[in-house]
């Protein structure tokens, strides 16, 4: 009978994506509740030593798939290797971070394994012995509690939602025999932006701007720098050409879940809210007291963002 919880971790060049630690922490909580083993899966090339980094989050075992064919993420190689490990070990539940790679991989893996997949979960709990997954639908306008029939059950977890908890124990590390199989894609090139920029979907703080900025994001960037956060944009700001597509927060942009979301000159269209409604604290700064954003924010200031935002930056600097 299928038993145990797998967590598929994601690393690039020796650094794990934060959502992997979130998934391990969640896996540990569920494994304790169900009294079953927690198994971390680590794929890459020359990554054996990284297994030690995962022990902090409490897996009982760590499966390491170490092979040059896994040096770069490809859907085929990773799906082939992980599917084999799943078939051999028969876990009941597989957790994975719903990063871009996680979404790509979990969707293919689910099809390979004929497994139900709950995508972009914001919660997982046990009800009796059954896993219940909480996930937004319709751009977050409703939240669904779903169960999955059959095994394995796969849940991709929204980044920045689950709490990271350290629960160190020593884990048994096993090297898997890797058969990458027929890999039909090749990574020709990676074009990464300056590495000091915080990635929007992983940022703890996001300062976002809309029509009210009239295209001038300088005061927002100053505030984001002072806070150590990322800068986001509404669809208007992107459509106007003021900010790149990759900065767009919203139903047809990125979904972010930071601790603090500061919306400056953003009216608060439904589609924008879909991209940031799971933020822990929302601050809205807008000239228009009737702006819909104020009905969704925790704190609001009616005022000129070009005066208010620099003043907030000053106050933040005083705090540090």
């Amino acid at each position: 009978m299928a038993q145990g919880i797998f967590v598929i971790t994601e690393q690039r060049e020796g650094t794990f994506r934060k959502v992997s630690f979130e998934a391990l922490s969640e896996g540990r909580r569920l494994a304790d509740a169900k009294n079953v083993p927690l198994v971390a899966v680590l794929c890459g090339s020359g990554v054996e030593a990284l297994a030690g980094d995962l022990e902090k989050y409490g897996p009982d075992r760590i499966l390491v798939a170490d092979d040059p064919a896994l040096a770069e993420y490809t859907t085929d190689a990773f799906t082939n290797v992980i599917a084999e490990a799943v078939k051999a070990q028969d876990p009941e539940l597989i957790l994975i971070g719903a990063s871009i790679t996680g979404k790509d991989l979990s969707a293919r893996l689910a099809a390979r394994l004929d497994a139900g997949l709950a995508m972009d979960c914001v919660g997982v709990r046990l009800d009796g012995g059954d896993f219940v997954f909480t996930r937004p639908m319709y751009g977050g306008k409703v939240v669904a509690n779903v169960t999955i029939d059959g095994t394995p059950k796969i849940a991709a977890l929204r980044p920045n939602v689950m709490t990271i908890t350290e629960a160190p124990r020593s884990a048994a590390v096993e090297k898997l025999a890797v058969q990458a199989g027929d890999v039909k894609t090749k990574v020709a090139e990676r074009k990464l932006e300056a590495t000091d920029k915080v990635e929007l979907t992983e940022a703890d703080i996001v300062v976002s701007g809309g029509r009210g900025t009239t295209g001038d994001f300088s005061v927002l960037e100053d505030l984001a720098n002072a806070l150590g956060g990322a800068v986001g944009a509404s669809r208007t700001a992107v459509d106007e050409g003021w900010r790149p597509h990759s900065d767009q927060v919203g139903q047809t942009g990125k979904v972010v879940s930071p601790n603090l979301y500061v919306a400056c000159g953003i009216s608060g269209a439904i589609q924008h809210l879909a991209g940031m409604s799971t933020s822990k604290v929302i601050v809205a700064i807008n000239k228009d007291p009737e702006a819909p954003i104020f009905s969704k924010a925790d704190y609001g200031i009616v005022g000129d963002l070009f005066k208010v935002v620099p003043a907030v930056t000053e106050e933040v600097k005083k705090l540090k």
Binding site: T75, D76, T79, S99, I100, T101, A107, R108, A110, A111, R112, G116, L117, A118, M119, P136, M137, Y138, G139, K141, V142, V143, A144, N145, V146, I148, D149, G150, K184, T185, V187, A188, E189, K191, L192, K197, E199, E202, H245, S246, Q251, T252, N259, L260, I270, V283, A284, F294, D298, Y299, G300, I301, G303, D304, V308, A311, V312, E314, E315, V316
Partner: protein
Amino acid sequence: MEIVVLVKQVPDTESLIQIAGDGVSIKTEDLKWVMNPYDEFAVEEALRIRETQGGTVTILSMGPAKTVETIRTALAMGADKGIHINDPAAEGSDPLATAKILAAALKDIPFDLIIAGMRAVDGDNYQVAPAVAEFLGIPQITQVIKKEISGDTIQCHQVVEGGTAVIEAKLPVLFTAQRGLNEPRYASLPGIMKAKKKPLDVKTLVDLGVDVGTAGAANRKVKIQALNPPPARKAITMIQGDDPAAQAAELVKKLHEEAKIL
């Protein structure tokens, strides 16, 4: 180049979504139904490829009768033909079952390229297109914002955290469209008129050789137990006054002392 575009009809993102009396579905009366926004990018990209390379653009969509409107929109944009899978037994299918049905239809269509939206904005599952690629045994490249085709090879620029990855594969390939890939054209009036005469085949699960026992709401692996509104936030605290410095000081104080996030 033979291109198939996977298209879904979804509620407009402006729609007010209300939970139905059964607590596990949404009210569908009074909803405005449109082409999934990400599928518009897919249709547009297919048309652009056909403009440079020649070939045919086929629209494939599964859904109830009104799905025809969305297929006709794609035909009005310029696609050549449509295939509508319309079968009550398929209604409520989960992503895997949907993908199996689409893959069954695709087995009879010669294709070099399949393009889909990177997700549908109702289910938000990101799943059907990759599953279709799996069932057809072809490579997938998701979240594509740029592509180049030369001969039988495609290079796709895929959004990744912090930048893009350029992924290469030999056709046939399935890729999914992300915002930024292109600006979709509007259907012109002549286009709308021409669309009425373009071929649109309707298929049932039996036509496709799909076992009805694997499809539909009753056979979902992922079962909705309850739909709830999003968690209510506490009422807003408006920082009063009209002096920006004072308002800022008050806000930061509250974020530090009350919300404890600074």
